[in-house]
């Protein structure tokens, strides 16, 4: 079974530039998550999708971050414009449809973003 795919693996940009990350979840997984992991901290949920609808985006900085999952499969996360404090690893995870209980999340390898 193929795992969660993410690209690019690494990205270096200057502040105020834009960047986009792509995630392809495990086939059949209805729920997709984007996490931000700053060095020395645990992952923080940015946004959760169920199929192509947003379940939770309460911690997404909406003035600069956006995410979409148009066909309920792949997802993109965009930052525009980037700030120095956005330097982090961006993890994508997926799980089977949640239905009142926790379903194991499978994580992708992450995209390491450095903002100079």
């Amino acid at each position: 079974e193929a795992g969660v795919a993410q690209s690019p693996r690494y990205k270096i940009i200057e502040k105020r530039q834009s960047v986009a990350f792509w995630c392809n979840p495990i086939s059949g997984h209805a729920t997709l998550y984007w996490y931000q992991q700053i060095l020395g901290q645990g992952p923080k949920l940015l946004i959760q999708f169920q199929n192509n609808g947003v379940v939770d985006d309460s911690q997404l900085p909406k003035d600069r971050f956006s995410a979409e999952r148009l066909k309920g499969v792949d997802s993109t996360l965009k930052i525009q414009p980037a700030k120095l404090e956005d330097s982090a690893v961006y993890l994508c995870a997926s799980s089977l449809l949640t239905s009142g209980r926790y379903n194991e999340q499978f994580f992708g390898p992450g995209t390491r973003l450095t903002v100079l």
């Binding site: 645990g42 992952p43 923080k44 949920l45 959760q48 379940v55 939770d56 995870a93 999340q105």
Partner: protein, 112 residues
Amino acid sequence: EDKVVQSPLSLVVHEGDTVTLNCSYEVTNFRSLLWYKQEKKAPTFLFMLTSSGIEKKSGRLSSILDKKELFSILNITATQTGDSAIYLCALAGGTSYGKLTFGQGTILTVHP
């Protein structure tokens, strides 16, 4: 707001030692507590705990949950260099199904 605090933040041991990692939490609607191992890549799942007092075990790793005192421990016996990693504790709770709140992690370094 759900909160997860792990201790110690870092730990250095020698091969063969036994280690205990701690995770305490505050939650409004507990669903489950999870442990992950993170090496240089993505976190990989270790255990999910939902009931107090029932030990989960996998090889040299074991974990237990105390829902009264709101904490969990992860034990690793006879540590090996391959156990060197960040160990993350995460809480599934609140009103958003599937949402995980992670602790800051414990960095474990095992020297030969």
